[in-house]
């Protein structure tokens, strides 16, 4: 990512300076910023970027539009169990992570043993088993990115957020972890921050990425 065109198309593979497209053109208007809560497609089982909802702990896991989406998901499979991954995705979208309590509620909704849901949820790396920061920063350090200096990018993220690997920064904004290949190997280093891909990131780009995210968080507050 060159310094002159910072984040014109954040997370987009074309961010090489040869493009003149806006984020909106690339992602479609409804993919920019916060998604409308009513989202959901007839195709049902898609998952949307994380969106932390303020929810009372005792409230039902899925309510309103989320419940509608959950019910839509159920119609797409020949049996209830197949809705488990999409349901856990949805639970993470609502709560920001998948707690043992969320697992229990999903188990109840799908008539599955709680232990079975626990076994599945812990198999997959994308379910956060504990709360993470507002921004989950996943730096790919696998071979293609590693050849191009991903370790230095990871170090820069840890240094500028003042955290240890896997820990959340004191302001609650950032959790930095290492990721396996994110399938953007031609645009190293690839960093996934929540749902967005930031590509062609060099260590010197890191402060401005974080600055931008901090400003975003402040704007939303």
């Amino acid at each position: 990512m060159s310094a002159e065109i910072p984040f014109k198309n954040p997370g987009w593979a074309g961010n090489t300076g040869e493009f003149d497209l806006t984020e909106e053109q690339v992602r479609g208007a409804d993919f920019v910023g916060r998604r409308p809560l009513e989202g959901g497609h007839p195709a049902g089982a898609s998952s949307y970027p994380y969106m932390l909802e303020e929810k009372a702990p005792e409230a039902a896991l899925f309510e309103g539009p989320h419940l509608e989406r959950f019910e839509k998901i159920l119609t797409r499979y020949p049996d209830k169990r197949a809705a488990l991954l999409p349901a856990l995705n949805l639970a993470q979208e609502v709560r920001g992570h998948v707690s043992p309590d969320s697992m229990r509620r999903v188990a109840e909704l799908l008539d599955l043993p709680e232990a079975y849901v626990r076994g599945v949820a812990t198999f997959y790396t994308m379910y956060n088993k504990r709360p993470v920061g507002r921004y989950l920063v996943q730096v790919c350090t696998n071979i293609s990115c590693n050849l191009c200096g991903a370790d230095e990018v990871l170090d820069a993220f840890l240094r500028y957020t003042d955290t240890e690997l896997g820990e959340t920064s004191d302001d609650g904004l950032f959790t930095v972890i290492e990721a396996e290949c994110l399938a953007a190997c031609g645009f190293p280093t690839c960093v996934q921050i929540n749902s967005r891909y930031f590509e062609n990131i060099a260590p010197e780009d890191v402060p401005s990425v974080l600055e931008r995210l901090r400003a975003e968080a402040e704007g939303a507050a």
Binding site: F19, S46, Y77, L85, L110, S144, A184, G186, R196
Partner: protein, 430 residues
């Protein structure tokens, strides 16, 4: 110039509309000829469609290279229960980044391919298993599916043909092993993505216990063109055994990394030196991994005569895999990179089979020991022995995928390991 980098030696069939946002909309896609092949295919019988694809010589683009038409012909001809198609969009092989581009730039091409394939195998439901990290790609795809439903291109009675095919975008949750076809089916069913013992093969007992075919995104994306233009059109590119064009994902130490669509049989060195602008900073080439991190590493000398088709890369001593060309220059610390690859597989092993679960973890530990300067020469023999034991002894080939790069790197770069073990000398260390 368009899409990050293009080359005039490319044959852009699948990647024609990369970088063109209008192609992502249904209207734009139809203007570019999408869904014409679908109409044609629905007017043909399922077996006729399969025969056309068989004649084209299309082979699976997910890594194994199995002939696609032949795979489809294994499905029962008289359906007594529901058939399923799974489109494998769980692209996770390190070095591979073609499917994501197909999904986000030309979602309707993928959907059209899914619908034609579903018709050919008499499937009533197609699940597109998209890896969980692809929020953008799966959102674009889900919207395209929605548009296709609204236009009567998916769902009940497609284009008035009486054929019903549902399409669902299913999103995974981060597990490399779900790219293995039986692991994918277990994951789709709401389980852990652990591969199944074959037989029974998916064409007999697959997803939800029903006959199922699993095809890669790129394979399915090639189908509409073949249906529209005929098998001979497709065979004008490539070699006798490897027909057509292929997306090559080039990453690592080249000046212009990216996706390039080239006819199969393209010389490897032309890809690196001509198409990708050569090795970065004018450095010398050290090694190339031609098919994603799970295939044997080629040394610079072996690259010279290598042509990029299924049989050509095998002749050079490796495998084409999913054509993910990872280029390493002379500054590469081979021990570190091999350890990083092994660590990936140790992390992603599903834990079912002992050789893989234990082997990948111990191989990583031994490599780490060597990397930290605490290795011994016996460690190299141990690694060769362990990786031999890990090959062909497990349910799926993840175990073999750890063994291939480790084994080949020790054979081809033994001196580098020894320099590190004996004198603590590291390549690329400041």
């Amino acid at each position: 110039m368009a899409y990050p980098y293009v080359s005039d030696r490319e044959v852009r069939v699948l990647s024609e509309h990369f970088g063109d946002p209008e192609a992502r909309t249904l209207e734009g896609a139809r203007k570019r000829g999408r869904y014409v092949a679908l109409k044609k295919a629905l007017g043909m019988g399922p077996d006729e469609v399969t025969e056309v694809v068989k004649a084209s010589g299309l082979r699976g683009r997910g890594g194994a290279g199995f002939p696609t038409g032949l795979k489809w012909s294994f499905m029962p001809k008289e359906p007594t229960k529901p058939h399923y198609l799974c489109c494998n969009a769980d692209e996770s092989e390190p070095g591979t980044f073609k499917d994501r581009e197909l999904l986000r730039w030309d979602p309707h091409l993928v959907i059209e391919g899914c619908l034609i394939a579903s018709h050919a195998i008499r499937a009533t439901h197609c699940y597109i298993y998209c890896r969980g990290e692809f929020f953008e790609a799966s959102s674009v795809l889900a919207r395209a599916v929605e548009d296709a439903y609204e236009a009567g291109l998916a769902g009940k009675d497609i284009l008035g043909s009486g054929v019903d095919i549902d399409v669902t975008v299913h999103v995974g949750a981060g597990a490399y092993i779900c790219g293995e076809e039986t692991g994918l089916m277990n994951s789709l069913e709401g389980g852990r993505g652990q591969p199944r013992v074959k037989p029974p093969f998916p064409a007999a007992v697959g997803a939800f216990g029903m006959p199922t075919t699993v095809n890669n995104v790129e394979t399915l994306a090639a189908v509409p063109g073949i249906l529209s233009n005929g098998p001979d059109w497709y065979r004008q590119w490539g070699t006798d055994k490897s027909a057509g064009t292929k997306l090559f994902c080039v990453s690592g130490h080249v000046r212009k990394p990216g996706n390039y669509e080239l006819p199969l049989g393209f010389p490897l060195m032309d890809l690196i030196d001509d198409v990708c602008g050569g090795v970065r900073d004018g450095n010398a080439l050290k090694a190339v991994i031609p098919g994603g991190s799970s295939v044997p590493i080629l040394s610079a000398e072996e690259c010279g005569a290598c042509t990029l088709c299924y049989e050509g890369v095998v002749a050079a001593g490796s495998m084409l895999g999913c054509a993910s060309v990872i280029v390493m220059d002379e500054t590469t610390d081979m021990v570190k990179q091999v350890r990083r690859m092994a660590a990936f597989y140790a992390h992603e092993s599903c834990g079912q089979c002992t050789p893989c679960r234990e082997g990948s973890a111990w191989v990583t530990k031994i490599l780490k020991r060597i990397e930290d300067g605490r290795g011994t020469e016996e460690d190299l023999d141990t690694l060769l022995e362990v990786t031999t034991q890990m090959t062909g002894t497990t349910i799926c080939v993840l175990s073999d995928s750890v063994a291939a790069p480790v084994h080949s790197s020790i054979q081809k770069f033994r001196d580098e390991y020894l320099a590190l073990i004996r004198r603590g000398e590291r390549v690329g260390a400041a």
